[in-house]
Amino acid sequence: MAASVRARSLLEVRNLKVALPAHADRPFAVNDISFDIGKSEILCIVGESGSGKSLTAAAIMRLLPRSVSIAGGSIHLDGTDLLALSRTQMRELRGRRISMIFQEPMTALNPLMRVGRQIEEILEAHTDLDQRQRTERVLELMHAVELPEPGQLRHAYPFRLSGGQRQRVMIAMALALDPVLLIADEPTTALDVTTQKQILALIKRIQSRMGMGVLFITHDFGVVAEIADRVGVMQHGHIVEMGPAMELLNAPRHAYTRKLIAAVPRLEPRPTEEGETDDMLRANRLSKTFVTGGGLFMRRRVVRAVRDVELVVHEGQTLGVVGESGSGKSTLGRLLIRLIEADGGEVTFAGKDFLHASSRALRALRPKIQMIFQDPYASLNPRRKVGEIIADGPRAHGAARAEALEQARRLLTLVGLDAGALDRYPHEFSGGQRQRIGIARALALNPRMLIADEPVSALDVSVQAQVLDLLNDIRRRFNLSMLFITHDLRVAAQVSDRIAVMRLGEIVEMGPTADIFLRPRHDYTKELLDSIPGRKWVAPALFAD
């Protein structure tokens, strides 16, 4: 990168402070940070939740939530002091000079307005173009972001579009007036991995073609490796380390950066456990079709969520089920544990017919197969104490209260929590801690098998590593079998003995982890693997300090 470009930055942020409201846990969300973005440069700000990275982006746009405010510092865009501008001046700048795209394409578009109109609106606000010219420009923009059939699609409402298409509409809007700076706040987090790849490529392509500066906010080091020129790492409102992307990714200096990078699951398939063991769980021709609507005049909607799935989980082994959203992997997990009743097929668990077990037989089998859920916030009843939650299973199966609580105490220690947690409520714990409580609950019945549905996808990367370690440890210690559902191939590689790849309700490929990763046979598997962000970057072997 030429020094002349650096000499005069596009964006200069100096000593920025963003104050939180009085009753928050700390006074400043963003505390004294400074950075620059050069023309045609992509700066990634990476950090875990609560680090202040999104508020930094919002502060530059001057679109902070009402309760927070800028408490100091300066922001200059091309020499203009943004904080000194009047509201009207700032409004004129937005969309024209700086644009922004957001994380949730689902909610970032007005649901009641056709997408073409939403793009056109920005032209109306900032240009003198007439109706015809605007329409032309809208089509041009939609074409530029590679939306199919712009002529028709512009008349569609957002809910008709896929997540990726919606994000493309957002990008088209952001680029409408050739801004000099694009702020992207986790723009691919809510997208599937294959879509994410396309969007990242699109942003990069447009950025280099138009020579924009980009501030890219993310929590994913894979994405960073994919797109960043330079990287800043944020923690508790501070930028703890900043530097060129490859330098920082491969040789992080600050302890926190090292810890984060160490926690990124390595894309190295785990060796499959030795020896064929007995089947713990076997599914044959398992199917589920959802029918909505119906009735006298209603049009029926039929979704074949799971089609003729065959799979085996061996005793003491982990089967990873990977797939994108809508692939039916979560439905599969729920079918296997009979949270949903299957339409057809067979499930044998520990040699017994599980799918057709009578409710009495099912009750007896329940303790042996337990589940760990995705959302640490939704999986614990907020109205019950942690002790009661963990003791609930044994209590349901007849254990005395004192005994069950005593066991809960032991389990809490096992999952690395203080026994004092027993008398507290879930909301007093962090996401990682809650996930540990969820694991303790599942273990309370001494199961032989666990079904884990995206157990770490809602967690920050450092916490994710700890929980994965815990799961691995427990699995080994109790010789548990596990079905591990995830969309994250890095995670799957790390935990699975064998992997099943799902797509549109079907398992397209299944085999030992190494085979899947190194010798994928199915095209879709190949596409998935190819889409893993930062797949070419091999995280350095580091030990967290």
Binding site: L63, R91, E92, R94, G95, E104, L112, A125, R299
Partner: protein, 325 residues
Amino acid sequence: MQRLQFIAQRVVKGIVVLLGIIILNFLLIRMAPGDPASVMAGEAGAADEVFMSQLRKEFGLDRPLHEQLAVYVKNVVTLDLGYSYRQQRPVADLLLERVPATLLLTGTAFLLSLVVGVLLGILAASRVGQWSDSLVTVIALFFYATPIFWVGLMGILLFSVTLGWLPSFGMYTVGGKLTGAAFALDVLHHLILPAITLALFHMAVYARMTRASMLEMRDQDFVRTAHAKGLREGRIVRIHVLRNAILPVITMAGVKAGYLIGGSIVVETVFAWPGIGRLAFETVMQRDYNLLLGVFILTSFMVIAVNLITDIIYSFVDPRIELGQ
């Protein structure tokens, strides 16, 4: 096509509900002590066996209950609402006579409450925390908590008796021999007090809802997007916030349609407004079975119709709604 299907389906559903209402109410009012003959005897201050049995026979009350029900249901299915023996006229005529007055009253009150309520809600939401917001909130709460008849009586006291600006009862100047525009103005003059009385409570409901909904919407992601696009504040409020915020208000308006008819009973009594609401009350008291059932059918039909209209409007406003879902 899909919309037609949807309407057809809702109509069928509505008919089923109506049939249920007919049967339930038919049985319910027959459980009550007394019948139209005893009411007429009671009012006349004279009666004998001949009189009572003549009336019963004439009203068909001498036949077994299930037979009466079967006859009634059969008639209703052929759109024959029967005959009010008390008033000596077909029920359909009696109802049709009263419908315009009630539609005028409730329709005006509905529009008034919706328009003014939403406007007040917008005003309050756009001035959150300022005195005008507090004022709107306090007024809304006040009307929300005041019995409707009380508002009506106070209105009469102030505007009719003390100030003499507005007539206190009736729908038009009887014997005024007015026609055309003058007649319309006269009706409007009579309409002001009752319509406002009926509207105030609902106005409060909509104002509160609009305010809350606007405040919720303006924190939505797509509003942030609109800001990021550099749109003017006015346009954001009008196009992005308001249109989305109005959706729950529309739903509420549909739900409240039945309450409007309920409220009109009281308002029509206070203002001697010749509508269905008062007829409903009087027919209960008079055990005018056929007429009462007719009132139930009509008012329930009105509620079903309003709900259907609301749903259709909703489906136009909100493209996400798949009709029939």
